[in-house]
Amino acid sequence: MTPSTASLRAILVTGKGGVGKTTFAAALARSLAGRGLRVLAAELVGSAEADSPLARTLGVSGTVDEPQSVSSDLSFARIVPSAGHLSFLRTALPMKVMADAAMKSSAIRRFLMAAPSLPEMGALYRLLELVEAKHTDGSPRYQTLVVDLPATGHALALAQVPASILDVIPHGPIADAVRRGLGLLYDRSRTAAFVVTLPEMLPVSESLELSRALEKHKIPVRGFVINRMPWDPFDAEQRKSLDRALAAHPNVLGARLFRRSDRAKRAKERLLASGATVLAELDERGDEGTALMDALTAELARVLVGDLAGVS
């Protein structure tokens, strides 16, 4: 049976660039927190200097590696490879001081950031650490992590990394840490990827490809979220009459939006025809910033309400 969204420990939000992935991740984290779950919204960033759009969307500065509080049930954290490397080294090496010395060595730091797969391994380790973080009473510090993954190519890279590391380094502490990370990533009861897409042909084909590739790497995909679905008040007959009229007068204000809503409908049909599960369809909205965030949060809470019914 598919576990409810609320029982997942890690929700991986992914999709092609520019589809509103970050806004969706922020709204999802907020709507889950609004249901009384302790939620951590996290974003994978490449380096300690990198900017975090998710932090910006949530209205926090996002410049430190330790989780920051956004509201009573919602926190934000950046997932930076170097933080993962440090905590990994602290666990793997017999003395903390050795780990700190290692991270101070520019040779080792450069190696960890420049050698292929190792930055991703650091990010995965940090993710695992945050999922496993506990309060002193043993309860999880965060019940759910909503992770804003990088755009398509890099999300795939991240999915590919653990297994490819194991090919090269099958034994030792790195291999063990990676296996534990995989244990989380592959576990349908704890992890699910949400693929965000726009209702346009190219984004739809790209997200279908992304979803297939994630499944190939054994990462469970829960389904698709169609973002910015244009308003469409016309029935088939009205459409037909508008099509005829616009053929005679193509340069009319409103025609571009009309054709766009038509394309959106076809793109959505294509997604459904491929057998994809559509988790939510979010209306395109004229508002932005805080107003957009509030509206999306409310809509998600409503759309996923059945799914969330199990939460007290």
């Binding site: 660039g17 589809v19 797969s117 490819s164 502490p173 616009l246 007068h249």
Partner: protein, 383 residues
Amino acid sequence: MNARVPRRSFVAPHLEDRRVIVVCGPGGVGKTTTSAALGLRAAMQGRRVLVLTIDPARRLAEAMGVPANSDEPTRVDPARFAAAGIEVPGELYAWMLDPGTVFDGMVRRLTKDPTKVDEIMKNRLYRHVKNLVAGMQEYTAAEALYSFVESKRFDLVVLDTPPSRNALDFLDAPRRLSSFLDERIVSIFLPKGGGFFRAASQLVESVFARIFGDGFFKELQGFLSAFSGMFDGMREHAVKVRTLLGSDESTFLIVTGMEPEAVSESLFFRAKLRELGVGFAGYILNRSWAYTRGLMPPATLEGLVPAETLAKFVTFGQEEARRAKMDRARLQTLLAQDIGAEALATPNLGGAVEDLAGLALLADELGFHHEDERPSSSHPIVE
């Protein structure tokens, strides 16, 4: 349509003179399509152009008749241009970057002893590295750029980068690579690293033996030894690419959409370019709604569709007008934050650009200002 001669856009001189144009910007704004259109425009001006793309839209590749998996650039068949009614005196090539091919080419060029080539190609770590999608695109984009510019096969290379945050990695890759390949650093990993670096070398060895396991560290040393003869060459390439990107021969374009997130990512990116000290040509605001000139009011359809349908359609017209106003305001906001920057808006051409004819339309929009219709910083949009 008015009969006035269109004025050349700010992009046009770059298409004529530069050897490298790097197209960057946030994801989902049509960078790949814009890069292809820029390449086409330059080829229409008679240049031999390569559009080097990292993540191409499959359908665009199909439209250009270019295979997705190929070992080297494919020329767009002139017959296709002819069929689409486009006059192209130059040549247009496209290539989807394949990290494995770029790596193999680099190994062949840089390995002095040909018997060593086989040894490297068979090395387990090498095969792992070259087949990774992760992170390798950035290294190989820089390396591919170097080899294409060096070979002088093309007058112009248009490089389509991955979405913004990763594109920064691309700019940084040569520096990171050359800093890692610093001989002193590498020597720490090599066996018998001694003398001054002995202490560092011992730390590295003990840390690596513990975390990777002893066997792996030896394998890593073997890999680095096999490669060590190439490091000078790789570093030299990295430095040359950086120099090339910082020189007058190269320029950067930022393609952006009009959503607030896209605009803020673009400004962030602009700051990064400034910091890196590379040339910046200007902004291309893609798929803009800003144009309303020449459009008829929705009421034009009166009598042609039922009243109820028309009433609904009128709201579409109002929404389009609202978007036009908003896009213009955003364009002004962007330019207010980057005083003196060039900008050009390309109109929302309807569907995605999916064929050569669509690409040619976009190419025309990029090359020229159509007076009174097309906005730019020097030609502000007015209602």
